[in-house]
Structure formats: C-alpha cells, structure tokens
C-alpha cells in the first residue's frame, strides 16, 4: 500500500466516529461536503483521504453511511479485538480503565501494571492491578497488542523499553516526554501539557 500520512489516518478515525453518530440519527447517505462541514475541513480533503483506500461513494449521491463506516472500520483494524494493558495505576491510568469509548471500539483493557505494592492485587473498574515484575508472564497470557504508558516521565522510557523487549510494537504515551524506540515500533503521544501550552500561546499572541 502507498504510504498513508498520519493526518489522513487521524481524519479517518474522525470520519468513523462521525459516521457512528450519523447512523444513530438514521442518516443513510452523506456527501463529502456535509462530512467536511462536520469536521471543519474541505470536501476535497475528505474525498482525497478516502481515495487512498478505494472508491466508496456514488457520483451524484454521496456515501452510504453504514457501508462507509464498515469500510473505515476494516481499514483502521476496528473489526478486531486489540488487547491493551495500562502501565501505572495513578489518576490517568485508573480513569482510562473506565473510558468506555475504548471498549466500544474493540480495545480491551485486560491489565493494569503497577509497582506500588499497596495497589497490586486490587482491582480498578474490574481490571486487575498486577505487579509490573510479572509483565513477562502476563504479556504472553494476555497476548498484549498495545501498551498505554501512564507513569511519571522519569519512568516512561524504562517502561517502554521493557515492553519493546517483550515484543510490543504499539504504545500510547501519556508521559510528557519523547520516547526513543526502534523503527518497527510506533508511539502515539497524548501530551496534555503540549495542548494546554498551545492554548496559552494563542491567548498571549493570537
């Protein structure tokens, strides 16, 4: 497949979510122009994004919402259950165990790893909190696909390396630090400080 840009993938994910909403509202067809309005982008962008993956529309009519959602789901790999583990049972880690949006899209949070012995052995929203030292055995048993890093910045790199060594290739990083990983591993950052500081910049200069 041709190289797909990150921005295209992100927008595909947004189309997917908007389509879910449209289907709930019993909308059966949508044009690239309408979709563009929902996402605050241009209609050419919508059509171009979709065109990387195929021809899903009907000229003169638009796109069938249910069909397009299914197609995008397949493209993004959401027709599949992904096993996820969180590292860190702090505020963020615990909040994520109850983030229903993840479960709804096929991301199953099976474990929270922790090093704090007072938390190990307990549960959080029904998810077992497990000793990080048992990561290896747990990794095999649960077939973990994705690790969510929710530990302080100073431990994030070490945690990441530990799971890279076990074979994990996908990380969602909440620690405010840039992780160093091999080429075949992907990290997506959820850096709340960066976003709020961008707002600060805007308020000062915008």
């Amino acid at each position: 497949m041709k190289k797909i840009s990150d921005s295209t993938v992100r927008r595909m994910s947004q189309y997917y979510r908007s389509l879910s909403r449209l289907i709930e509202q019993s909308v059966q067809t949508i044009s690239s122009e309408k979709m563009a309005q929902i996402e605050n982008i241009t209609s050419a962008q919508v059509r171009k994004d979709l065109s990387f993956f195929g021809s899903f529309g009907k000229r003169g009519l638009g796109y069938n919402t249910v069909e397009l959602k299914t197609k995008i789901g397949e493209i993004l790999g959401l027709d599949h259950q992904w096993n996820v583990a969180i590292v860190g049972a702090g505020n963020i880690g615990r909040a994520l165990t109850d983030y229903t949006e993840f479960n709804r899209q096929g991301f199953f949070i099976g474990t929270v790893f922790e090093s704090d012995t007072s938390k190990i052995g307990t549960q959080c929203n029904g998810v077992d909190i497990v000793d990080i030292e048992k990561a290896k055995i747990n990794y095999k048993k649960k077939a973990i696909d994705i690790i969510i890093i929710a530990v302080p910045a100073k431990h994030a790199q070490a945690v990441c390396e530990q799971f890279v060594n076990l074979g994990v290739r996908a990380f969602l990083n909440f620690a405010p630090i840039s992780l160093q990983v091999p080429d075949n591993v992907v990290v997506k950052n959820e850096n709340m400080s960066v976003e709020i500081e961008s707002l600060s910049f805007f308020l000062r200069n915008g």
Copy 2:
C-alpha cells in the same frame, strides 16, 4: 508577528519540558543537535523553530539552558497564571484535577462544573464542584481563561457554546467530536480514540 505554525508551537512546548529536565540535571548548555536527539527530530528543525522568535544561541557554543527555558516560557505565556475550569466531573475531569503537570506550569484549576446534583457541592482533590447553571457568575468571579471540556460527546458542543457566549476563547476538548467555534476562539483536541485507532491502523498495516 509572522504566522507561527501549530507544529512549531507544539515543539516549543516540548523543548520547554526537555529544558526543565536538563536544568534539573545541572546541564548548562545544549546544542541544537543534542536537543534534536532528545526530541527525535533534526537539528535544523530546532534552529528554525527558535529562529521564528529570535536568536537565543551562541555560535560555536549552543544555547544556555536556563536562558532558553525562560525565553520559551515567555513566548508560550507560562510566566503568567492562567485560570482553568473543567466541565464534567467524570473520570477524566476528576483525574485532571490532580494532574500536577498543569499546576506546575501555571495552569490553575479553580472549578469543576457539573450538572449531576449528587456531585454538586462536593470537592475533588480540593477543587469545588459547582453547578453548571452557575457558570456565568463563576466565570466573572474566577476570570476563567481556559475551559477543559470533559463531558460526553453529545453535550460537548452545547457546553462549548455556553462558554464562548460568556467570553472564553480557549478550550481543551476531551470529547471525541469536532467542535464548531467562531474564528477568534481556539480549540485543542485531546482525542484518545484517534490516537489509539492510529495504533490499530499501524498494527494492521505498518
């Protein structure tokens, strides 16, 4: 000032965080090349980003970490306290009241707004949970600069409009939906579903 790209602002924010870490480690000087390694980018990118705002380095030597951190702090507006309110006392909203990274950088969370009467009047990590109906009076009293939206997608647009009408110009949106706002208002999205679905795409196609 010349138009600064979003990516440059985000990287400035990352440099700022890396500089804090370097200063803690008593590093006094850093070259663009070293900084680039930390951030996984090129040294030309580091120099170009900084050059939009001035000349902060010394040729042959590099950048003084303390000076550069101060400069970037001013550029980003972090030499100032910003008053922040969260809307929604769910998992994410509550977790954010205890996100120390925010306080450390001058973002002061003064209020959590809620509509659920059983939560109103209580506190979360020392922050009052206030009736959303009292937003107007509270907005004036607290001089709110930034609103963090942590409500379900279906309420996010209405919440946003309510505060836009009160005069808020900066939003950090955790709801997985694209918000429609006037030109003079900025929204930054923290869309965890988008990031994890990008990982799914990578695992399937990468």
